[in-house]
Protein backbone atom coordinates (compact mmCIF):
# COMPACT_ATOMS: atom_id res chain seq x y z
CA UNK A 1 0.00 0.00 0.00
CA UNK A 2 1.33 3.38 -0.95
CA UNK A 3 1.84 5.96 1.74
CA UNK A 4 1.07 9.55 0.82
CA UNK A 5 1.79 12.50 3.03
CA UNK A 6 0.39 15.98 2.82
CA UNK A 7 3.14 18.56 3.08
CA UNK A 8 1.85 21.96 4.21
CA UNK A 9 3.71 23.60 1.31
CA UNK A 10 3.84 20.99 -1.49
CA UNK A 11 0.53 19.22 -0.84
CA UNK A 12 -0.12 15.47 -1.08
CA UNK A 13 3.06 13.69 -2.19
CA UNK A 14 4.58 10.18 -2.33
CA UNK A 15 5.65 9.06 1.17
CA UNK A 16 9.13 8.07 0.00
CA UNK A 17 9.94 11.78 -0.53
CA UNK A 18 9.79 12.22 3.23
CA UNK A 19 11.80 11.18 6.25
CA UNK A 20 9.95 10.09 9.37
CA UNK A 21 10.88 12.31 12.31
CA UNK A 22 9.49 10.42 15.27
CA UNK A 23 6.46 10.54 17.50
CA UNK A 24 5.24 13.93 18.72
CA UNK A 25 6.63 14.21 22.26
CA UNK A 26 5.87 17.80 23.16
CA UNK A 27 8.48 20.51 23.70
CA UNK A 28 12.11 19.68 24.47
CA UNK A 29 12.47 19.48 28.26
CA UNK A 30 14.07 22.35 30.15
CA UNK A 31 17.75 21.78 30.84
CA UNK A 32 17.50 23.16 34.36
CA UNK A 33 16.97 20.24 36.73
CA UNK A 34 16.83 17.69 33.90
CA UNK A 35 17.31 14.07 35.09
CA UNK A 36 18.80 11.28 32.94
CA UNK A 37 15.42 9.55 33.19
CA UNK A 38 13.46 12.51 31.82
CA UNK A 39 16.00 13.12 29.06
CA UNK A 40 16.00 9.44 28.07
CA UNK A 41 12.21 9.50 28.01
CA UNK A 42 12.25 12.45 25.62
CA UNK A 43 15.04 11.15 23.38
CA UNK A 44 14.41 7.41 23.16
CA UNK A 45 11.04 6.34 24.48
CA UNK A 46 8.03 5.78 22.22
CA UNK A 47 4.38 4.90 22.69
CA UNK A 48 4.36 2.54 19.66
CA UNK A 49 0.64 3.06 19.18
CA UNK A 50 -1.14 0.53 16.96
CA UNK A 51 -3.63 3.11 15.73
CA UNK A 52 -3.64 6.87 15.18
CA UNK A 53 -0.59 8.79 16.33
CA UNK A 54 0.70 12.33 15.91
CA UNK A 55 4.15 12.36 14.33
CA UNK A 56 6.80 14.49 12.68
CA UNK A 57 7.89 14.33 9.05
CA UNK A 58 10.60 16.08 7.03
CA UNK A 59 10.13 16.73 3.32
CA UNK A 60 13.69 15.69 2.44
CA UNK A 61 13.23 15.41 -1.35
CA UNK A 62 11.03 18.50 -1.49
CA UNK A 63 10.74 21.84 0.22
CA UNK A 64 12.62 20.80 3.36
CA UNK A 65 9.90 21.68 5.84
CA UNK A 66 9.26 19.87 9.13
CA UNK A 67 5.62 19.35 10.07
CA UNK A 68 3.26 17.10 12.02
CA UNK A 69 0.51 14.83 10.73
CA UNK A 70 -1.81 12.21 12.22
CA UNK A 71 -1.45 8.73 10.74
CA UNK A 72 -2.98 5.34 11.48
CA UNK A 73 -0.04 2.97 11.97
CA UNK A 74 -2.21 -0.08 11.25
CA UNK A 75 -3.23 1.12 7.76
CA UNK A 76 -0.51 3.66 6.86
CA UNK A 77 -3.25 6.18 6.05
CA UNK A 78 -2.96 9.82 6.94
CA UNK A 79 -5.89 11.02 9.04
CA UNK A 80 -7.40 14.50 8.73
CA UNK A 81 -6.31 16.60 11.69
CA UNK A 82 -9.86 17.53 12.68
CA UNK A 83 -10.98 13.91 12.46
CA UNK A 84 -8.09 12.77 14.65
CA UNK A 85 -8.62 15.27 17.43
CA UNK A 86 -12.34 14.51 17.70
Amino acid sequence: MALTITCPICGKRNGYEFRYGGEEKGPRPDEAGLTPEAWCDYVHMNNCVAGVQEEWWFHKDGCGSWFKIHRDTTTNLEIEQTEATE
Binding site: Y16, D41, N46, C48, V49, A50, T73
Partner: protein, 407 residues
Protein backbone atom coordinates in the same frame (compact mmCIF):
# COMPACT_ATOMS: atom_id res chain seq x y z
CA UNK B 1 -12.54 -24.73 11.89
CA UNK B 2 -9.19 -25.72 13.42
CA UNK B 3 -10.63 -24.59 16.75
CA UNK B 4 -12.68 -27.75 16.97
CA UNK B 5 -9.83 -30.08 16.11
CA UNK B 6 -7.31 -31.38 18.55
CA UNK B 7 -4.22 -29.16 18.52
CA UNK B 8 -1.06 -30.74 17.10
CA UNK B 9 0.87 -30.35 20.34
CA UNK B 10 -1.46 -32.39 22.55
CA UNK B 11 -4.67 -31.97 24.45
CA UNK B 12 -6.82 -28.86 24.43
CA UNK B 13 -7.06 -27.55 27.99
CA UNK B 14 -9.41 -25.10 29.67
CA UNK B 15 -7.92 -21.87 30.95
CA UNK B 16 -7.57 -22.11 34.72
CA UNK B 17 -7.99 -19.22 37.14
CA UNK B 18 -4.38 -19.30 38.33
CA UNK B 19 -0.92 -20.26 37.08
CA UNK B 20 2.60 -20.02 38.46
CA UNK B 21 3.76 -18.26 35.31
CA UNK B 22 1.81 -16.57 32.50
CA UNK B 23 3.54 -15.81 29.21
CA UNK B 24 1.92 -13.33 26.82
CA UNK B 25 2.62 -14.10 23.18
CA UNK B 26 2.79 -17.51 21.52
CA UNK B 27 5.96 -17.04 19.55
CA UNK B 28 9.32 -18.74 19.72
CA UNK B 29 10.73 -16.79 22.68
CA UNK B 30 7.62 -17.65 24.72
CA UNK B 31 7.58 -21.30 23.69
CA UNK B 32 11.30 -21.70 24.34
CA UNK B 33 11.08 -20.00 27.75
CA UNK B 34 8.17 -22.24 28.77
CA UNK B 35 10.00 -25.32 27.50
CA UNK B 36 13.13 -24.54 29.53
CA UNK B 37 11.12 -23.54 32.63
CA UNK B 38 9.56 -27.00 32.54
CA UNK B 39 12.69 -28.90 31.54
CA UNK B 40 15.38 -27.22 33.64
CA UNK B 41 13.42 -25.98 36.65
CA UNK B 42 10.38 -28.27 36.93
CA UNK B 43 8.01 -25.29 36.66
CA UNK B 44 5.15 -26.67 34.59
CA UNK B 45 2.13 -24.68 35.75
CA UNK B 46 2.49 -22.25 32.85
CA UNK B 47 -0.04 -20.69 30.49
CA UNK B 48 1.05 -19.28 27.15
CA UNK B 49 -1.55 -16.80 25.88
CA UNK B 50 -1.67 -16.29 22.13
CA UNK B 51 -4.18 -13.93 20.52
CA UNK B 52 -4.03 -15.67 17.12
CA UNK B 53 -2.29 -19.02 16.75
CA UNK B 54 1.25 -20.06 17.57
CA UNK B 55 3.66 -19.17 14.79
CA UNK B 56 1.33 -16.47 13.41
CA UNK B 57 3.77 -13.61 14.01
CA UNK B 58 7.49 -13.30 13.51
CA UNK B 59 8.02 -17.01 14.26
CA UNK B 60 6.53 -17.97 10.91
CA UNK B 61 7.46 -14.85 8.94
CA UNK B 62 11.23 -14.59 9.36
CA UNK B 63 13.58 -15.77 6.63
CA UNK B 64 14.88 -18.61 8.84
CA UNK B 65 18.50 -17.45 8.86
CA UNK B 66 20.63 -18.26 11.91
CA UNK B 67 24.11 -16.92 12.62
CA UNK B 68 26.41 -15.72 15.39
CA UNK B 69 28.50 -13.03 13.70
CA UNK B 70 27.11 -9.99 15.49
CA UNK B 71 29.29 -7.09 16.55
CA UNK B 72 29.44 -6.74 20.32
CA UNK B 73 30.94 -8.91 23.05
CA UNK B 74 27.51 -9.09 24.75
CA UNK B 75 25.61 -10.36 21.74
CA UNK B 76 28.02 -12.86 20.23
CA UNK B 77 28.11 -15.40 23.11
CA UNK B 78 24.31 -15.41 23.26
CA UNK B 79 23.91 -16.05 19.53
CA UNK B 80 26.70 -18.63 19.60
CA UNK B 81 24.86 -20.58 22.24
CA UNK B 82 21.63 -20.27 20.24
CA UNK B 83 23.46 -21.65 17.21
CA UNK B 84 24.95 -24.52 19.21
CA UNK B 85 21.51 -25.43 20.55
CA UNK B 86 19.87 -26.29 17.21
CA UNK B 87 21.31 -29.83 16.94
CA UNK B 88 20.76 -30.33 20.68
CA UNK B 89 17.11 -29.30 20.45
CA UNK B 90 16.58 -31.45 17.38
CA UNK B 91 17.53 -34.46 19.51
CA UNK B 92 15.87 -33.36 22.73
CA UNK B 93 12.56 -32.49 21.10
CA UNK B 94 12.77 -35.51 18.81
CA UNK B 95 11.69 -33.19 16.02
CA UNK B 96 13.58 -32.49 12.82
CA UNK B 97 14.34 -28.77 12.85
CA UNK B 98 16.09 -29.15 9.49
CA UNK B 99 19.20 -27.22 10.56
CA UNK B 100 21.23 -26.67 7.43
CA UNK B 101 24.52 -25.06 8.47
CA UNK B 102 25.37 -23.97 4.97
CA UNK B 103 27.26 -20.88 6.15
CA UNK B 104 26.66 -17.16 5.76
CA UNK B 105 28.40 -14.86 3.35
CA UNK B 106 28.06 -11.16 4.21
CA UNK B 107 29.11 -9.15 1.19
CA UNK B 108 31.16 -6.00 1.74
CA UNK B 109 31.04 -3.24 -0.84
CA UNK B 110 33.63 -0.73 0.33
CA UNK B 111 36.91 -0.55 2.18
CA UNK B 112 35.05 0.96 5.16
CA UNK B 113 32.75 -2.07 5.22
CA UNK B 114 35.77 -4.40 5.04
CA UNK B 115 37.20 -2.59 8.05
CA UNK B 116 33.94 -3.00 9.97
CA UNK B 117 33.91 -6.69 9.01
CA UNK B 118 37.44 -7.11 10.39
CA UNK B 119 36.22 -5.99 13.77
CA UNK B 120 33.20 -8.30 13.69
CA UNK B 121 35.49 -11.18 12.76
CA UNK B 122 37.90 -10.39 15.61
CA UNK B 123 35.00 -10.39 18.06
CA UNK B 124 33.71 -13.67 16.65
CA UNK B 125 37.14 -15.34 16.78
CA UNK B 126 37.72 -14.07 20.32
CA UNK B 127 34.49 -15.81 21.37
CA UNK B 128 35.33 -19.01 19.53
CA UNK B 129 32.98 -18.44 16.61
CA UNK B 130 34.34 -19.34 13.20
CA UNK B 131 34.35 -16.31 10.91
CA UNK B 132 36.79 -15.26 8.18
CA UNK B 133 37.44 -12.30 5.95
CA UNK B 134 37.69 -13.30 2.32
CA UNK B 135 38.28 -11.32 -0.86
CA UNK B 136 35.95 -11.02 -3.84
CA UNK B 137 37.68 -13.84 -5.74
CA UNK B 138 37.30 -16.26 -2.84
CA UNK B 139 33.65 -15.23 -2.50
CA UNK B 140 33.16 -16.01 -6.18
CA UNK B 141 34.72 -19.45 -5.63
CA UNK B 142 32.23 -20.13 -2.84
CA UNK B 143 29.23 -18.74 -4.71
CA UNK B 144 29.90 -18.90 -8.46
CA UNK B 145 26.63 -17.06 -9.18
CA UNK B 146 28.00 -13.84 -7.61
CA UNK B 147 28.76 -10.90 -9.85
CA UNK B 148 32.15 -9.58 -8.76
CA UNK B 149 32.61 -7.24 -11.69
CA UNK B 150 33.19 -3.57 -11.03
CA UNK B 151 30.34 -2.28 -13.17
CA UNK B 152 27.51 -2.77 -10.69
CA UNK B 153 26.12 -0.14 -8.31
CA UNK B 154 28.00 -1.55 -5.31
CA UNK B 155 31.00 -3.62 -6.49
CA UNK B 156 31.94 -6.48 -4.14
CA UNK B 157 35.21 -5.86 -2.27
CA UNK B 158 35.08 -9.01 -0.18
CA UNK B 159 32.96 -10.81 2.34
CA UNK B 160 32.66 -11.98 5.89
CA UNK B 161 32.35 -15.77 5.73
CA UNK B 162 30.71 -17.43 8.73
CA UNK B 163 30.58 -21.20 8.08
CA UNK B 164 28.59 -22.37 11.17
CA UNK B 165 25.49 -20.27 10.37
CA UNK B 166 22.74 -21.27 8.03
CA UNK B 167 19.05 -22.02 7.94
CA UNK B 168 16.65 -23.63 10.37
CA UNK B 169 13.08 -24.53 9.43
CA UNK B 170 11.20 -21.94 11.51
CA UNK B 171 7.80 -23.69 11.54
CA UNK B 172 9.45 -26.87 12.75
CA UNK B 173 10.90 -24.95 15.71
CA UNK B 174 7.40 -23.68 16.60
CA UNK B 175 5.92 -27.17 16.36
CA UNK B 176 8.81 -28.89 18.09
CA UNK B 177 8.92 -26.49 21.03
CA UNK B 178 5.11 -26.46 21.39
CA UNK B 179 5.07 -30.26 21.49
CA UNK B 180 8.05 -30.41 23.84
CA UNK B 181 6.59 -27.85 26.25
CA UNK B 182 3.06 -29.32 26.21
CA UNK B 183 4.46 -32.79 26.88
CA UNK B 184 5.92 -31.43 30.12
CA UNK B 185 2.59 -29.87 31.16
CA UNK B 186 2.75 -26.35 29.73
CA UNK B 187 -0.64 -25.11 28.48
CA UNK B 188 -0.89 -23.23 25.20
CA UNK B 189 -4.04 -21.15 24.80
CA UNK B 190 -4.72 -19.86 21.30
CA UNK B 191 -7.37 -17.23 20.51
CA UNK B 192 -6.72 -16.00 24.04
CA UNK B 193 -5.90 -12.34 24.22
CA UNK B 194 -4.25 -10.77 27.25
CA UNK B 195 -6.07 -7.52 27.93
CA UNK B 196 -4.40 -6.16 31.04
CA UNK B 197 -1.99 -6.89 33.88
CA UNK B 198 -3.05 -5.82 37.35
CA UNK B 199 -0.51 -5.01 40.04
CA UNK B 200 -0.73 -4.41 43.75
CA UNK B 201 1.99 -2.71 45.82
CA UNK B 202 4.35 -2.91 42.87
CA UNK B 203 3.84 -6.65 42.37
CA UNK B 204 2.09 -8.57 39.61
CA UNK B 205 -1.27 -9.87 40.78
CA UNK B 206 -3.27 -11.06 37.79
CA UNK B 207 -3.66 -11.07 34.04
CA UNK B 208 -7.01 -10.20 32.48
CA UNK B 209 -7.85 -12.06 29.29
CA UNK B 210 -10.86 -12.36 27.00
CA UNK B 211 -11.35 -15.80 28.57
CA UNK B 212 -11.32 -14.64 32.19
CA UNK B 213 -8.88 -13.42 34.80
CA UNK B 214 -5.78 -15.41 35.81
CA UNK B 215 -4.08 -15.01 39.16
CA UNK B 216 -0.30 -15.16 38.86
CA UNK B 217 2.82 -13.80 40.49
CA UNK B 218 4.98 -13.91 37.41
CA UNK B 219 4.18 -12.73 33.91
CA UNK B 220 6.39 -12.29 30.88
CA UNK B 221 5.57 -10.32 27.76
CA UNK B 222 7.42 -11.63 24.73
CA UNK B 223 4.98 -10.82 21.97
CA UNK B 224 7.42 -9.84 19.23
CA UNK B 225 6.51 -6.62 17.45
CA UNK B 226 3.43 -6.16 19.62
CA UNK B 227 5.40 -6.18 22.90
CA UNK B 228 6.12 -2.45 23.13
CA UNK B 229 2.50 -1.39 22.64
CA UNK B 230 1.30 -4.05 25.13
CA UNK B 231 3.86 -3.15 27.79
CA UNK B 232 3.00 0.53 27.44
CA UNK B 233 -0.76 0.07 27.54
CA UNK B 234 -0.75 -2.50 30.36
CA UNK B 235 1.93 -1.14 32.66
CA UNK B 236 2.68 2.35 31.39
CA UNK B 237 6.31 1.45 30.68
CA UNK B 238 7.50 3.23 27.53
CA UNK B 239 10.23 1.52 25.54
CA UNK B 240 12.86 2.80 23.10
CA UNK B 241 11.28 0.81 20.30
CA UNK B 242 10.01 1.55 16.81
CA UNK B 243 7.84 -1.10 15.18
CA UNK B 244 8.43 -1.47 11.46
CA UNK B 245 7.15 -3.81 8.80
CA UNK B 246 9.89 -5.90 7.19
CA UNK B 247 9.14 -7.56 3.88
CA UNK B 248 10.20 -10.87 2.39
CA UNK B 249 9.47 -12.89 -0.71
CA UNK B 250 10.33 -16.16 -2.50
CA UNK B 251 10.93 -16.77 -6.18
CA UNK B 252 9.86 -19.69 -8.29
CA UNK B 253 11.95 -22.81 -7.59
CA UNK B 254 15.28 -23.34 -9.33
CA UNK B 255 17.87 -26.10 -9.57
CA UNK B 256 20.53 -25.78 -6.85
CA UNK B 257 22.43 -22.53 -7.42
CA UNK B 258 23.04 -21.02 -3.96
CA UNK B 259 24.46 -23.16 -1.18
CA UNK B 260 25.15 -20.30 1.26
CA UNK B 261 23.11 -17.53 2.80
CA UNK B 262 24.24 -14.42 0.93
CA UNK B 263 23.55 -10.98 2.35
CA UNK B 264 24.49 -7.46 1.49
CA UNK B 265 24.15 -4.42 3.71
CA UNK B 266 24.70 -1.97 0.89
CA UNK B 267 22.02 -3.53 -1.31
CA UNK B 268 19.77 -4.09 1.75
CA UNK B 269 19.10 -7.59 0.52
CA UNK B 270 19.70 -11.14 1.71
CA UNK B 271 18.97 -14.37 -0.07
CA UNK B 272 19.22 -18.11 0.35
CA UNK B 273 17.92 -21.08 -1.57
CA UNK B 274 15.41 -23.17 0.33
CA UNK B 275 15.41 -26.94 0.19
CA UNK B 276 12.47 -26.65 -2.20
CA UNK B 277 14.65 -24.62 -4.57
CA UNK B 278 13.02 -21.24 -4.12
CA UNK B 279 15.21 -18.21 -3.52
CA UNK B 280 13.96 -16.74 -0.23
CA UNK B 281 14.92 -13.11 0.06
CA UNK B 282 14.30 -10.28 2.45
CA UNK B 283 14.59 -6.54 2.29
CA UNK B 284 15.32 -3.69 4.63
CA UNK B 285 12.53 -2.51 6.92
CA UNK B 286 10.01 0.13 5.96
CA UNK B 287 11.52 3.50 6.90
CA UNK B 288 8.55 4.56 9.08
CA UNK B 289 6.80 2.73 11.92
CA UNK B 290 3.73 0.75 10.95
CA UNK B 291 1.89 -2.43 11.91
CA UNK B 292 0.53 -3.19 8.43
CA UNK B 293 2.73 -6.23 7.56
CA UNK B 294 1.90 -5.35 3.96
CA UNK B 295 4.22 -5.58 0.98
CA UNK B 296 4.89 -2.57 -1.16
CA UNK B 297 5.72 -2.29 -4.86
CA UNK B 298 8.69 -0.15 -3.80
CA UNK B 299 10.41 -3.06 -2.03
CA UNK B 300 9.47 -5.74 -4.56
CA UNK B 301 11.15 -3.61 -7.22
CA UNK B 302 14.07 -2.94 -4.89
CA UNK B 303 14.62 -6.67 -4.28
CA UNK B 304 14.42 -7.48 -7.97
CA UNK B 305 16.96 -4.78 -8.79
CA UNK B 306 19.35 -5.77 -6.01
CA UNK B 307 19.23 -9.50 -6.75
CA UNK B 308 19.68 -9.04 -10.48
CA UNK B 309 22.81 -6.95 -9.84
CA UNK B 310 24.80 -9.15 -7.48
CA UNK B 311 23.24 -12.48 -8.52
CA UNK B 312 22.60 -11.79 -12.20
CA UNK B 313 21.61 -15.41 -12.93
CA UNK B 314 18.34 -14.65 -11.12
CA UNK B 315 17.30 -12.03 -13.69
CA UNK B 316 13.82 -12.67 -15.06
CA UNK B 317 12.74 -14.92 -12.18
CA UNK B 318 9.23 -14.45 -10.84
CA UNK B 319 8.36 -13.89 -7.20
CA UNK B 320 5.87 -16.57 -6.16
CA UNK B 321 4.89 -15.38 -2.71
CA UNK B 322 5.39 -12.16 -0.76
CA UNK B 323 4.71 -11.39 2.88
CA UNK B 324 5.63 -9.08 5.72
CA UNK B 325 6.25 -9.26 9.43
CA UNK B 326 7.11 -6.86 12.23
CA UNK B 327 10.52 -5.84 13.52
CA UNK B 328 10.67 -3.98 16.83
CA UNK B 329 13.84 -1.96 16.50
CA UNK B 330 15.80 -0.38 19.34
CA UNK B 331 18.28 2.49 18.88
CA UNK B 332 21.28 0.18 19.47
CA UNK B 333 19.91 -2.82 17.55
CA UNK B 334 20.15 -4.94 20.68
CA UNK B 335 17.19 -6.43 22.55
CA UNK B 336 15.68 -5.50 25.92
CA UNK B 337 15.50 -8.32 28.44
CA UNK B 338 14.58 -7.21 31.90
CA UNK B 339 12.52 -8.29 34.87
CA UNK B 340 11.63 -7.63 38.50
CA UNK B 341 12.70 -4.05 38.02
CA UNK B 342 9.80 -1.77 37.17
CA UNK B 343 7.24 -4.19 38.65
CA UNK B 344 8.06 -7.24 40.76
CA UNK B 345 7.17 -10.40 38.86
CA UNK B 346 7.05 -8.69 35.47
CA UNK B 347 9.51 -9.81 32.81
CA UNK B 348 10.01 -8.53 29.29
CA UNK B 349 11.83 -9.97 26.33
CA UNK B 350 11.46 -7.68 23.34
CA UNK B 351 13.19 -5.23 21.01
CA UNK B 352 14.65 -8.07 18.97
CA UNK B 353 14.13 -6.30 15.68
CA UNK B 354 14.95 -8.88 13.04
CA UNK B 355 17.07 -11.03 15.38
CA UNK B 356 14.27 -12.80 17.25
CA UNK B 357 14.42 -16.09 15.39
CA UNK B 358 18.17 -16.70 15.57
CA UNK B 359 18.25 -16.02 19.31
CA UNK B 360 15.15 -17.85 20.54
CA UNK B 361 16.76 -21.08 21.72
CA UNK B 362 19.38 -19.51 24.00
CA UNK B 363 17.14 -16.69 25.18
CA UNK B 364 14.42 -19.16 26.18
CA UNK B 365 16.99 -20.95 28.31
CA UNK B 366 18.19 -17.79 30.09
CA UNK B 367 14.79 -16.12 30.49
CA UNK B 368 13.64 -19.38 32.10
CA UNK B 369 16.57 -19.12 34.54
CA UNK B 370 15.68 -15.47 35.21
CA UNK B 371 12.03 -16.32 35.98
CA UNK B 372 12.78 -19.48 37.97
CA UNK B 373 15.50 -17.96 40.18
CA UNK B 374 14.13 -14.39 40.19
CA UNK B 375 17.67 -13.30 39.52
CA UNK B 376 19.05 -12.05 36.22
CA UNK B 377 21.67 -14.41 34.71
CA UNK B 378 24.98 -12.62 34.01
CA UNK B 379 24.70 -13.10 30.27
CA UNK B 380 21.41 -11.13 30.16
CA UNK B 381 22.46 -8.30 32.50
CA UNK B 382 23.78 -5.92 29.81
CA UNK B 383 20.41 -6.00 28.03
CA UNK B 384 18.47 -4.17 30.75
CA UNK B 385 16.21 -1.22 29.98
CA UNK B 386 18.19 1.19 32.17
CA UNK B 387 21.11 1.15 29.74
CA UNK B 388 19.37 3.82 27.66
CA UNK B 389 19.20 6.35 30.45
CA UNK B 390 22.73 5.47 31.54
CA UNK B 391 23.72 6.11 27.93
CA UNK B 392 25.28 2.66 27.62
CA UNK B 393 23.91 1.86 24.18
CA UNK B 394 25.32 -1.34 22.81
CA UNK B 395 26.98 -0.40 19.56
CA UNK B 396 25.64 -3.27 17.52
CA UNK B 397 25.50 -0.94 14.51
CA UNK B 398 28.95 -0.26 13.09
CA UNK B 399 28.18 3.25 11.94
CA UNK B 400 24.85 4.81 12.76
CA UNK B 401 24.43 7.48 10.12
CA UNK B 402 21.08 8.81 11.28
CA UNK B 403 19.12 8.31 14.43
CA UNK B 404 16.09 6.92 12.64
CA UNK B 405 13.51 4.22 13.41
CA UNK B 406 15.04 1.79 10.91
CA UNK B 407 18.63 2.44 12.10
Amino acid sequence: MFLKNKPMWGKRTKLKSSYDVVIIGGGLHSLATAYYLAKDYGITDIAILEKNYIGFGGAGRNTAIVRANQRTQYNVPLYKEALDLWPVLTKELDYNLMFNNCGNLNLMHSEAAMKAARMNICTAQFHGVESHLIDAKEAKELVPALNISEDITFPIHGAMFHPPGGIVRHDAVVWGLAKGAAKKGVEIHQQTEALDITTKNGKVESVKTNMGTIQTKQVMISAGGYSAALINSMLGIRLPISVLTIQAMVTQPLKPILDHVVSSGAYHCYANQTLKGEIATGAHMDPWPNYTTLNTAYYIKHQAEALSEFLPALRGLKFMRIWGGLADMTPDMAPIMDGNDQVEGFFMDCGWGYFGFKSCSAVGKYMAEFIAKNECPDILKPFNLKRYQDHKLMGETAALVNYSPDN
